[in-house]
């Protein structure tokens, strides 16, 4: 699994989000477009989009691998689900895969669905509608967990 380079976004001097690289997996194109716009609003410039878990997997750990700081994924996707992708990610041997930040963005607001993914180490579970403020809080929690604890 690709590691973000040493110039980490965790640099205490700079907590802005303009160096955060996001992988967004969402099959609904209007929602995808909104999330990308909201991410830009909060300063995130590098967003890679995928519409299926399979495409997301290739970008995250597979043949088209790129380096990301956080994954935002829908749960219900065509083919494999977002939950399956997260489980597969956590089952990889790499230590980074076990702790890689994952934000779930879903229309499923039932406890049953939450309990299905919660054991896999989800940083935040966002139920639509999502706003810029919610995304910022979730990404800061995912990428700067120590600073969130301090505050």
């Amino acid at each position: 699994m690709a590691q973000p380079e040493k110039t980490s976004v965790n640099d205490a001097a700079s907590r802005n989000l303009d160096r955060v690289r996001v992988l967004l997996i969402e099959d609904e194109r209007v929602i995808r477009e909104i999330v990308v716009r909201l991410l830009r609003t909060i300063g995130i410039r590098e967003v890679t989009e995928a519409a299926t878990a399979e495409d997301g997997w290739h970008l995250l750990v597979g043949q088209d691998q790129q380096s990301f700081h956080v994954l935002i994924t829908d749960l219900t996707l065509p083919g494999a689900s977002g939950g399956t992708l997260v489980r597969k990610l956590r089952e990889l041997p790499s230590p980074r895969a076990k702790t890689f930040p994952v934000i779930v963005l879903t229309g499923s607001n039932d406890l049953q669905t939450y309990k299905l993914v919660e054991p896999w180490g989800i940083s935040s579970y966002l139920i639509k509608p999502v706003s810029a403020g919610l995304l910022r809080a979730a990404i800061e929690k995912a990428v700067f967990p120590e600073s969130r604890k301090e505050t």
Partner: protein, 122 residues
């Protein structure tokens, strides 16, 4: 067999929560939010067409998958009654006839949403 959920009449009041649209406008600006809202209404109609096709093919499983996507989209825009009808389609219908009944209500509601958004001034 009756639906487990209930196909209710649309609530009195707007079919889209004003706050949801305002939040979008604040977050991404008036021009962009207007463009996204147009994408939303176009997408609603596409979903209705897909649901009609799913039901014409007697494919209840695909109908439920399509309805799930529609539900998430409606949640994002605060289209609460459309969302509730999509939720019924996704989770509560047991057969194609029930689904057709819900879809007919959904098509009506999508019309209300379109009118509301077309006249929304922000």
């Amino acid at each position: 067999m009756p639906l487990r959920g209930k196909v209710t009449d649309p609530p009195i009041g707007p079919p889209v929560e004003d706050n949801a649209l305002k939040m979008l406008e604040i977050d991404i600006g008036a021009d962009e939010s207007r463009r996204i809202m147009q994408l939303f209404t176009a997408s609603l109609n596409e979903y209705c067409d897909r649901l009609l096709a799913d039901l014409a093919a007697q494919d209840l499983s695909q109908t439920k998958k399509t309805a799930h996507g529609l539900k998430g989209l409606c949640m994002q825009f605060g289209a609460t009654h459309s969302m509730e009808l999509a939720r019924l389609l996704e989770l509560d219908v047991d057969n194609v006839e029930e689904a057709k009944l819900v879809l007919s209500k959904l098509v009506e509601e999508v019309g209300r949403v379109e009118k509301f958004i077309a006249s929304w001034k922000g």
